[in-house]
Symmetry: C2
Subunit: 413 residues, 2 copies
């Protein structure tokens, strides 16, 4: 009797994480190693609470299921933010998980997520080794932040980068219209790494020089230098656009957003975003018209402008993970290895979970200009292929057609 597969999603949403889920499902139903595939609702929490959706049945019943799942943003199975305790801290949780997996005749478990999720799956893989369990554990990467090591880039990043670059271009068109000096500050996600903010610079083209200034968290931010940068750019152009990471810090490592915390009328301090903080700074010190825009969660959920490249790769990473466990592997994560930039060629491979969890990949200092206010051509070469290709999202009555959120159908949520 063939064993079954379990899959779950964890961490923050992206436009491509359901493509990886679709890849795992496709890997199972197109192969002959496994029988059914169960999705745990809300990550590892759903395993512990035994809340499952039988995904193989859905994929077989409905021909369009996988096609729609691939292009649906956020997480079909829902997410959780759980830090898996070490075995010594809570052996019971491990006993409970393995009891459930064995009772359900699970042969392989896939966790699609970022850094924390890889830590969870690494711990489960070690536990399996300790128990001599033959259940295989594999990770499938995802994070818009692109900060995982050992993979050229992460699923979800390309789509977020595409949204950011396209939106920056549209913001440029919008802000060019007046004949008055104006500064626009766009705050972009990425608390620790500047990969997302760097993508803003892709909006530059033959007629658009914006954003002229790009600040990443990899380089300390100096307010006085920033003001000088803005003043210099205002001499060259009436329309100055600044792309800034939410996570920039000053020379002492203090977040700029935190330093500019504002107090409400009741005296409570509110953490204002870095965009607002810099807007206030420009208003006060330079006095030009200035506004700030926070791209917020739109950059991770805009399925209608997902990158075709990203969606394809995300799907392949999921499928590959299933093929490798079927071939006997465990304790790994599927990764992307870049062969060349032009033409853009990659290979899907694998890396050890212990080597990838709890590490972070920053934008290399040499991909940021010396002044620390822009990115270099090397960085463009790296990002450009990742935003290529558009997805054929279906539209009906003027709106994109996505798959209903799976976990909402579960237990009447």
């Amino acid at each position: 009797m063939r064993k079954h597969v379990m899959v779950a999603q964890s961490g923050g949403p992206t436009a491509a994480i359901n493509a990886s889920l679709a890849g795992v499902i496709r890997g199972v139903i197109s192969g002959d190693t496994y029988d059914k595939i169960y999705g745990a609702v809300h990550g590892i929490t759903g395993v512990l609470e035994e809340r499952f959706l039988e995904l193989s049945a859905k994929a077989r019943e409905d021909d369009g299921f996988l096609d729609q799942l691939i292009l649906t943003p956020a997480m079909y199975l829902g997410s959780c933010r759980v830090k898996m305790p070490n075995r010594e801290e809570d052996p019971g949780i491990y006993d409970r998980i393995f009891e459930i997996l064995e009772r359900m005749n699970i042969g392989a478990f896939f966790y699609i997520g970022g850094n924390d999720s890889m830590d969870t799956i690494a711990k489960l893989a070690r536990e399996a080794a300790r128990r001599n369990s033959d259940i295989r554990f594999a990770g499938v990467p995802k994070t818009i932040d692109n900060d995982l090591v050992l993979t050229d880039h992460t699923p979800g990043y390309g789509s977020a980068a595409k949204f950011i670059a396209a939106t920056m271009l549209e913001i440029a068109h919008d802000t060019y219209i007046y004949d008055l000096p104006c500064v626009t500050i766009v705050e972009i996600m990425g608390r620790d790494s500047g990969w997302l903010t760097a993508a803003a610079a892709l909006a530059r083209n033959s007629y658009n020089i914006t954003p002229q200034l790009v600040y990443l968290p990899e380089v300390p931010f100096h307010r006085s230098q920033f003001l000088e940068d803005v003043r210099n750019e205002l001499k060259r152009s009436k329309n100055v656009i600044v792309a800034v990471s939410e996570g920039i810090r000053d020379e002492n490592g203090v977040y700029i957003s935190a330093k500019e915390a504002v107090a409400d009328l009741f005296g409570h301090k509110q953490l204002s975003g870095v965009g607002k903080a810099l807007e206030n700074l420009v208003k006060k010190e330079i006095g030009t018209k200035v506004r700030s825009i926070e791209l917020s969660i739109l950059q991770r959920c805009a399925g209608h402008v997902a990158s075709g490249q990203d969606i394809n790769e995300s799907c392949r990473l999921g499928e590959y993970a299933v093929q490798r466990t079927a071939a006997g592997e465990t304790g790994f994560i599927s990764v992307i290895q870049r062969i060349s930039d032009e033409p853009y060629l990659i290979e899907i491979g694998q890396a050890g979970l212990d080597d990838i969890a709890n590490k972070a990949k920053m934008v290399p200092r040499e991909w940021i200009n010396e002044a620390g206010n822009d990115v270099t051509e090397d960085l463009f070469r790296y990002i450009r292929p990742l935003i290529h290709g558009e997805c054929r999202v279906q539209w009906e009555d003027g709106l994109p057609v996505y798959l209903p959120v799976g976990h909402l159908n579960h237990a009447g949520e």
Copy 2:
């Protein structure tokens, strides 16, 4: 010798105002009344400063020019924010404008814009009558706010509404993923009228009940009622999304955003957005996880999700205005008259400039529910057809291909 045409754009940008410009150009080059068409750079300011682009030459030289112009967001010619003085205040400005138009052998002048722009063109039309000038003046409407009277809806509104509805659906997917109570507040444009915010409700579908609460500026906003509304919705669903207009006011007419102004560390009061104000209120009074998102200028510049219906109608309104001046009309604005909702049928017609300028159309009270926290089915019937249809924006290297901003090529800006 045939006369020429002049056209300019004014007010805030939209995704459809260049489609109206393309319509005016098409009207000129496809008819036999007029010869050249000049675009004034930066609205009426460009007329006074004699900064012109010859658009007919561009359209004839480059086959793709009009097709690309139609789908390019914001304003190809640039904008201005000028309140035209009355003749008594500044007769010189009228003399100067007419001297230029006559010297350039202009037969018709078109101004594409919102309320203020219609005031400008109405004044110029009255001046022409006073002078017995045979130059004809016509307005072509645009505003994402949809607040012009005498037209069923305004060009630009449908595209903004489509962006808002699609984005609300994607935000819903994003926020559904956690199994924890969470309130998301989305701040939408529309200082005085709630048309844009109302479009958020189009995101509801067979699986998505969000946004559950919709607050428009047409109805006074009560903080205590708002908190009760949110508490009630949290009993029904873990994921509560609130769509709120930037312009909501309390029972005394005071903007909610203004009342919640925050002081920065230097003691300067900052006007925080209404989204942030309500976020703070929920955090303080209810204590659930809460976040706010400001759609900001993305809702008016996202050309890549423009409404096909909107773009087509915007183009037709421009073309129609040219045809009517060619037929001898002046002092009018082209408008949309709705024949039926289903099937959606419209006719293009005209209205008197004096009847449309300086008036505003609000969401009727009967299209808002009694509790003042949602919209009614009548409003859905009105908006739905306006977001229909997608545009075939070209993509290259992963980004939308727009027409370079025209006024930037002018005078080395």
